[in-house]
């Protein structure tokens, strides 16, 4: 058992159980979703997980399921989106989770930026491949809830992030290993091809725009992408033209 991760669960999800449950109450009351977990991984591996169902997270940590969870990896490996995933990638442990908690799948909504990935996990006892369609009408509201949770739990999240919990040191090489077949992988060939064909912007332009939206200047975007500042400015001008924006400021909302 990893002392670190169990300690994280004890010191946050269990200790602040009452607060977390109270933030998550609207989920169960209005949308019928009793279980929620939030996690965040920074590019240096700093990790936080909070849940209104600490028993299940404890089970996850005590059984070292994080070793086989491909979503607990470097932020650059993912794209934002949603996916129905098993609670663990070990079929025996899935069975055990089903038996113990009635849970075998969860709905994961990933929110990615260049240096951070945040996961919002929702689950109900009957969630599976068939019933996950019931989440579609709630999808918009679940995204909103994710934003609400982050605001309400900001203090806890910041405190946990400032401590020593590090998923990179726990997972070792697996932290940066990418599986292009994983749902929400940034390198999934189908997704990359689809986006290339349907986007007005080239791949490089998309990356410039993404960094610009994250608050990078042309100079720091150039540094991240290994380009000259002039090239980045040239890209941004092109993007403005393609998206019919009058100013760079307008790029923050269009694209």
């Amino acid at each position: 058992m990893s002392v670190d991760l169990c300690d994280l669960v004890n010191r946050y999800s269990i200790k602040y159980d009452h607060k977390i449950r109270s933030i998550c109450e609207p989920l169960e009351v209005h949308l019928g979703i009793p279980n929620f977990s939030y996690y965040s991984i920074e590019e240096d591996g700093r990790f936080v997980i909070l849940s209104n169902f600490p028993e299940q997270v404890e089970f996850f940590c005590a059984n070292e399921m994080y070793h086989s969870c491909p979503y607990l990896a470097h932020p650059s490996l993912f794209r934002s989106g949603a996916a129905l995933i098993p609670v663990t990638y070990d079929p025996m442990q899935v069975q055990q989770s089903r038996k113990q908690y009635g849970i075998d799948h969860l709905m994961l909504i990933l929110n990615c930026t260049a240096n951070k990935v945040e996961g919002f996990m929702f689950t109900t006892k009957d969630l599976n491949v068939q019933t996950c369609q019931n989440f579609i009408p709630k999808f918009d509201l679940l995204n909103k809830f994710g934003g609400y949770f982050k605001i309400e739990a900001q203090e806890l999240i910041n405190r946990a992030l400032s401590e020593r919990y590090n998923i990179k040191s726990v997972r070792g090489k697996a932290f940066t290993a990418h599986d292009p077949n994983l749902i929400l992988s940034r390198f999934d060939k189908t997704t990359v091809s689809f986006l290339r064909q349907t986007s007005l912007l080239s791949w490089q332009e998309q990356r410039c725009l993404e960094l610009y939206r994250q608050g990078h200047s042309a100079q720091s975007t150039a540094a991240v992408l290994g380009l000259s500042q002039r090239t980045v400015e040239h890209y941004l001008d092109h993007i403005k033209e393609k998206l019919n924006c009058r100013s760079k400021r307008e790029l923050l909302t269009k694209g």
């Binding site: 949603a82 999808f139 918009d140």
Partner: protein, 153 residues
Amino acid sequence: MSHELDQLIRNYTIKHDRKIKTICDPLQTYLGISTFAYYSIEDNGSFVIISNFPEQLDFFYSSHLYLNCPYLVHPSLFRSGYALIPLADDQEKVNLSRKLYGIDHFLLMLFRVGNKIEGFFFNAKNPNDQFIDRLDLLSKFVNLKGSYSQYER
């Protein structure tokens, strides 16, 4: 079918069939989504619909399914969001559509923009297909983050 709706289908969906199919091609190629339709309704009732599957659209109108479709109403009645909806309330017609075109449900993305509402319908012929892990890509396809960045809830 009303003459106006018939004209709308003929003048746009059928006449520009090739262009529409080309635009929708990545949906089929990469995501296995065979049917796409777009519609918009303004608060004065102005209506537009285009689809990459004119036969199915024709069926929708010639069977008068639009008369009972709860989504073809005033824009103020809806919020933006997603829904998985049956093709019609009439089970017999749903069965017929399934038999003829392999279609009985749609994923609907609805956006309120100013005084109008815009809807995007997607359908995959495989009934086991899931839309959840493609919502993000479909949103990008309809340019959600561009034109719809300011949509109202």
